[in-house]
């Protein structure tokens, strides 16, 4: 695990409030859920498959996954497998490889990166060529994950503003 210093600040508004004041909507936050517990005997994988059920409807070809994986080798491997199981061929970006692991700020910074990439129609470059696939087309949806290096998991779903 390589630590990184990060500040992340998100402004969340109801669509009605944002539109009324003419604010630019970077992305829509469809779902967010956190959970925790024992990680043995497939329990970790079960939670990663279950939390934020809204993610199940996503089309992998339209989706990019921003993983907050800490870099703890075994845990990150398990997360990668869980993401492949749930999101198939959707490209995954482990952003700790770019900014380090920012602990408490890791999840919100992932949300910010996901919102920016959706908003800008970006092809997000590969951070780690050995483990990450190229993104074929801009994504209209993003999944953000966080897996604590000791405890806790979270997952969010973002979509382009319709």
């Amino acid at each position: 695990m390589i630590l990184g210093t990060v500040g992340a600040f998100l402004v969340l508004e109801s669509r009605e409030h944002a539109e009324a004041r003419g604010a630019h909507i970077y992305s829509v936050l469809d779902a967010v859920e956190g959970d925790r517990g024992n990680r043995d005997d497939g329990r970790f994988e079960a939670r990663m498959a279950r939390i934020a059920p809204e993610a199940d409807a996503l089309d992998p070809t339209q989706t990019i996954v921003f993983s907050g994986a800490s870099g703890m080798a075994e845990l990150s491997k398990r997360e990668k497998t869980a993401l492949e199981t749930r999101f198939g061929a959707a490209p995954v970006r482990g952003y700790a490889g770019s900014i380090g692991h920012s602990l408490e700020a890791q999840f919100p910074v992932g949300l910010a990166l996901a919102a920016l990439s959706i908003d800008s129609g970006a092809i997000v470059p590969v951070f780690d060529a050995e483990h990450e696939a190229k993104q074929a087309q801009p994504a209209t949806h993003a999944v953000v994950t966080t897996v604590g290096y000791v405890r806790g998991e979270g997952l969010a779903v973002l979509s382009a503003n319709a």
């Binding site: 956190g34 959970d35 925790r36 517990g37 000791v150 405890r151 806790g152 979270g154």
Partner: protein
Amino acid sequence: MSDNRFTDHLGRPIIAVTGMGVITSLGQGLADNWSALTSGTSGIHKIKRFDTEGMSTRIAGTVDFLEVPAPNSVERSYAMARETTIEALAQAGIDGDFNGPLFLAAPPVEPEWHDRFALADRAPPASEPGDAYVRFLAAMRTKPDPVFLEAVQFGSISERLADRFGTRGLPVTLSTACASGATAIQLGVEAIRQGRTTRALTVATDGSISPESVVRFALLSALSTHNDPPKKASKPFSKERDGFVIAEGAATLVLESLESAIARGAKVLGIMKGCGEKADHFHRTRSSPDGGPAIATMKAALADAGLSEEQVGYINAHGTSTPENDKMEYGAMLSVFGDRLKDGIPCSSNKSMIGHTLTAAGAVEAVFSIQTMLTGTLPPTINYTNPDPAIVLDVVPNVKRDADVSAVASNSFGFGGQNASLVMTREPV
């Protein structure tokens, strides 16, 4: 929710308190604490946990009677939270998994001095100036130390509570400085009002007294230096008050929608009627001179409760015994409650006896506020021999008093301008 016996003035679920547990320097459990508190007993004593030689403050309300597996803030805070939760759940008659969310107010923690010294002792010798960081990392790499890791992670307190008591979902660990305990309760209240749950476990704990914490608060000139005798040091609203006395403690409140409490036949101890919170951005440690944010906090809590100030029969003051807080709090209360404050609303400070339990204070004092209504006894403000002439309050001086109280306001005004007030009532309406 069509039955209006169970909804408040805004149509929201009424929140019942069905279980309470408390630990302070006065002892373990509500019964022992209440007996000591109403007999005017102080829990403040000389610090024995570490050497205080040369320190300006050498007294505190440490909790030293619980066994912990390692001497650090996380273990002490967890042990107290565990015990108060066992007590609260037993009173609430809840066995097995709690199956509701956990809101935990926990102190900020960092490595204890003795752990840092121990790490330095096993670090390799210096090879060049300024290489302490590299040497410490080298020492950690030679021997992983999971006990040390747990000791610097306050998230491990809520994790253990969640596992032990079977709470649901990701627990929320929070800190709003001295208002933390009240904030934990507020989050529980809001979760039930929003219909996300019918019950919430709200816990506040603080076992963080260490040389570092005492030195830091002393450097802010926030602590009383009245070391001898320790029992006389905390003297809220007195002319010669000279700072707060740092202390430890914990409290747990089981909150339930009144409807669900009645449905399962639980005994309702009191009603958590309203919460108010406002930020004071005047200064990092000083409060706004006009008391605006503190006034707004109390008014917000009353409005949330749907009560007028005339209906409040007792105030459980923040009353830290610092020159600044007590003056500011008095001014704010005067603005809200008016002339009735001088002899119509008794207002005492539990901190005169238990000191300032910091992160835990809002919840500890909420428990005592409910107990005040249940028993019809006002706990006194002790060490009140020389009143501050600028503060004209009925502080229930030195001796408890019988009083039939149906509504209590409790204040928590934290360093950094984090203000929270709670309004509790004996009956649902």
